[in-house]
Amino acid sequence: MKELSLHILDLAQNSIVAGAKLIEIEVAESKKNDSLTILIRDDGKGMAADFAKTVTSPFSTTRTTRKVGLGIPLFEERAEMTGGRLSIRSEPGKGTELFAEFGLSHVDRVPMGDLAGTAFLLMNSNPQLDFRLLVRVDEDEFMFDTRQIREALGAEIPLNSPEVAAWMMESLKEGIESLHGGM
């Protein structure tokens, strides 16, 4: 995968499979610390401690259609290639938190890619779930929370109805681009 945002899409799919109702994604870029961090937190079913410890190996998977799970191992490799790391905290019944750190200016760091499009597709194709996206570039911050949108729209209008969808895509694009130089 050639974009970090594609990894985010993939890891959020794990959260959806785990039955999450709320998925929080935080991306923060700091030129001062030369770091890029990605946090994905969900309130899904979590993992048992001993399973969570082995989950960076491709042979740890609960999927049934294939014997290896690649999402987390690939993401870890991406982080480590840039001098960074991946850590996982998970609690059965509570949820899971993935935190990855990348060397921002490292030559092997793949670009973020289309973060706005990724967030939008997650929200649009899972209108029954809530997402909170926080993007930080140095001191600038952009936050987008589907719970606020749901509240403004009322319960009768699904988040994937066409006009709402168009508004969400535009807001995400604008918000992320407005951050100092974009992502």
Binding site: L6, D10, Q13, I157, S161
Partner: protein
């Protein structure tokens, strides 16, 4: 800049359409979004479907995602569930193929045979 205040007007306009939507049975477009699908290019395919649905203002078509459908070599995979029709599975999708499926199949009800799983498996 967009603001949450825009949503009030959208709400009013959409409420008028929702009445129509509720008594029609909708079509579902489901895209395989496990690691294999994403790596094979599922994201731009999904984006194309969502854009087409929005541009054509199709209130009764929903685009959603699923995990691995189990045929990684044929990703990106797309399944179409239309009322009164058997499920149709399209393989090795691209945004261009998605546009064609949208106009021929979703809008006009004609399955695009050459993109289906049946045409590659035999």
């Amino acid at each position: 800049m967009k603001s949450l205040k825009d949503l009030e007007a959208i709400r009013q306009r959409t409420l008028q359409d929702v009445g129509i939507r509720n008594d029609r049975k909708g079509t579902r477009i489901v895209i395989g979004m496990a690691t294999c699908g994403i790596a094979a290019g599922a994201r731009p395919v999904m984006m194309k479907f969502v854009e087409e649905v929005a541009n054509r203002k199709l209130q009764d078509v929903a685009v959603s995602q699923t995990g691995c459908i189990g045929m990684c070599e044929f990703e990106p995979l797309v399944e179409i569930y239309a009322p009164g029709q058997e499920k149709v599975t399209y393989v090795k999708m691209t945004p261009e193929k998605a546009a064609r499926v949208m106009s021929d199949h979703i809008v006009n009800g004609q399955v695009v045979g050459e993109y289906t799983i049946g045409s590659v498996k035999k």
